[in-house]
């Protein structure tokens, strides 16, 4: 047996929980990486045309916004295992090369174990937002908004007008 992902950056390793590192077979590297703290200056994004800034962490919208700087858009066709794998194993690699906001349409991402899938996805995205200090913009409906309870900001579009939800 050999690791499919042979190398993880220290930053990437910091994202993982111990259990995840164990299952990936990278526990020693993970323990070493956890001794280091990497601090970034937060990237602040904004909705184009509006003077409203999007802080790092998870931010909710119910529409497709124009974001500046241009975000990494998670491929809409990814579902289930591929979606989780992309969030946890691919996005941190992309961000390791260039930090950018992330935008993800989270509707209909799971065909099984739906609730645990969403909880896990939000947990991964939350960690990504914190470690890389980038805004993560989650697009979803009202049901998605209710699954997670620590949104850094919520902006909704109703009849072509934007509302900031406090």
């Amino acid at each position: 047996m050999r690791l499919k992902y042979k190398l993880f950056s220290k930053l990437h390793l910091q994202l993982f929980y111990e259990e995840e590192a164990r299952r990936l077979g990278i526990l020693d590297e993970w323990r070493e990486a956890k001794k280091t703290i990497v601090l970034f200056k937060p990237i602040v994004a904004k909705y184009v045309g509006y003077e409203y800034h999007i802080p790092y962490g998870l931010n909710y919208v119910n529409f497709y916004p124009n974001i500046y700087p241009e975000p990494i858009i998670v491929n809409d066709s990814l579902q289930d295992e591929k979606f989780i794998e992309y969030l946890l194993l691919e996005i941190p690699r992309i961000l390791g090369k260039q930090r950018k906001p992330i935008m993800v349409d989270i509707v209909d991402k799971f065909s099984k174990n739906i609730n645990s899938g969403y909880k896990y996805s939000f947990n991964i995205l939350e960690r990504i937002g914190y470690v890389f200090k980038i805004p993560v913009i989650v697009i979803g409906d009202d049901n998605i908004a209710k699954i997670y309870d620590k949104w850094r900001s919520m902006v909704v579009k109703i009849e072509n007008k934007l509302y900031w939800v406090l």
């Binding site: 602040v44 645990s116 007008k161 939800v165």
Partner: protein
């Protein structure tokens, strides 16, 4: 201090923070403003020699309200705020530490963790 002036300083600090010299070159006046903003628990100050005034979550709420006022004024119409969540903003201090230190309880029995064992090795 006049409430409009106070809101003006909140607007000027913005959601990214500013250095005190952006408030005024008059250091006495800056101290006065800082003391008032502190009195209302609206700011955090970082650094000693080179200070930087930051938002706190309470001030962020006010700042967002100001943005809405601006929106209402610019559109000239009445806006009803749709409230889809009663959740509060959480502070950066609350937000930061727990995420990476301890895995949440829902993860222990989470079926999606098993894919990592499969994907980690071929």
């Amino acid at each position: 201090m006049n409430i409009i002036k106070l809101l003006g300083y909140i607007e000027r600090i913005g959601d990214r923070g500013i250095s005190p010299t952006r408030i005024s070159r008059n250091t006495r006046y800056v101290e006065k403003v800082i003391n008032i903003l502190r009195k209302y628990d609206l700011i955090e100050i970082h650094g000693n020699r080179y200070r930087y005034i930051y938002l706190n979550e309470r001030r962020l709420k006010l700042y967002n309200l100001l943005r809405q006022v601006e929106l209402i004024l610019s559109e000239g119409g009445e806006i009803k705020l749709e409230k889809i969540s009663d959740k509060k903003f959480i502070s950066k201090k609350e937000y930061a530490p727990e995420i990476l230190i301890q895995s949440p309880s829902f993860l222990r029995e989470n079926p999606w963790l098993t894919i990592l064992s499969k994907r980690g090795r071929e």
